[in-house]
């Protein structure tokens, strides 16, 4: 039985605390974590604003996590996604996945990230260094393709 926890929050993710929390004990031999960061885009970007659909955001991530737990023998799966204003260098998203063996942990963490990109209701908008509000980040075909590569044949 996989222990799944999902957080959708405006504040920073305490990566040091999460790293300690992810340490398993018992039967787990492998922990894979992913952290996604706001890039500075060569100084062009002042912040990313992330809008989300409260309620559905949590549900969509839980559904993705549950799907991952059905595909791989994972022990713990923790998913955190921020919303609101995020400065360059700050983390946006975090996934930690523990498993008995490493391949399941790598695969499940990659799967969850691919689906969070295109199947969870979050939208990014750029705030630029010149003070203007830039456009909404466009969905990338490569993100749809990344999610698509996990489809069962």
């Amino acid at each position: 039985m996989t222990d799944i926890s999902v957080l959708v929050q405006p504040g920073p993710i305490d990566l040091a605390a999460e790293a300690q929390r992810a340490a398993p004990g018992g039967d787990a031999g492998a922990v894979v974590t992913f952290a996604g960061y706001c890039r500075d885009e060569d100084g062009r970007l002042q912040a990313l604003e992330i809008e989300h659909y409260p309620g559905m955001a949590e549900r969509a991530i839980e559904r993705i996590a549950t799907e991952a737990a059905g595909r791989w023998p994972i022990l713990n799966l923790r998913c955190i996604h921020r919303y609101g204003m995020i400065a360059p260098g700050e983390e946006i998203v975090f996934v930690a996945c523990s498993s008995k063996h490493r391949h399941a942990a790598f695969e499940a963490a990659g799967f969850v990230m691919d689906f969070m990109k295109s199947k969870a209701p979050f939208w990014k908008r750029e705030h630029l260094s010149d003070g203007s509000v830039g456009g909404w980040v466009e969905a990338k075909d490569t993100d749809d393709a990344a999610a698509g590569r996990w489809h069962r044949l």
Binding site: Y53, M56, H81, K119, P121, W123, A139
Partner: protein, 83 residues
């Protein structure tokens, strides 16, 4: 019927949510999108490319062919860009 909008759909329509009374004959999500599109320039601008638009009924993502049925909230938004 409560409809909520997100991201550039919300911006173009100019509101985050509204209550609407659906006229008879609106059965599917597709019907709803076409009806909304005729409500004004702001709706037309938001929904001009329906194939781009994502819809969730009661917080579950659905295809445009989905019958709306009884539900408490429909969400209309652009492709998601999380992660």
């Amino acid at each position: 019927m409560k409809i909520v909008y997100f991201a550039w759909v919300r911006e173009r329509i100019g509101t985050a949510e509204e209550e609407v009374a659906l006229p008879a004959g609106i059965v599917t999500v597709d019907d709803l999108l076409h009806w909304l599109k005729g409500r004004g320039d702001n709706y037309a601008a938001a929904l001009q490319a329906p194939e781009m638009i994502r819809v969730a009924i009661d917080q579950e993502h659905v295809p445009h062919s989905q019958p709306i049925g009884h539900c408490s909230e429909i969400a209309i938004f652009p492709p998601m860009t999380g992660g």
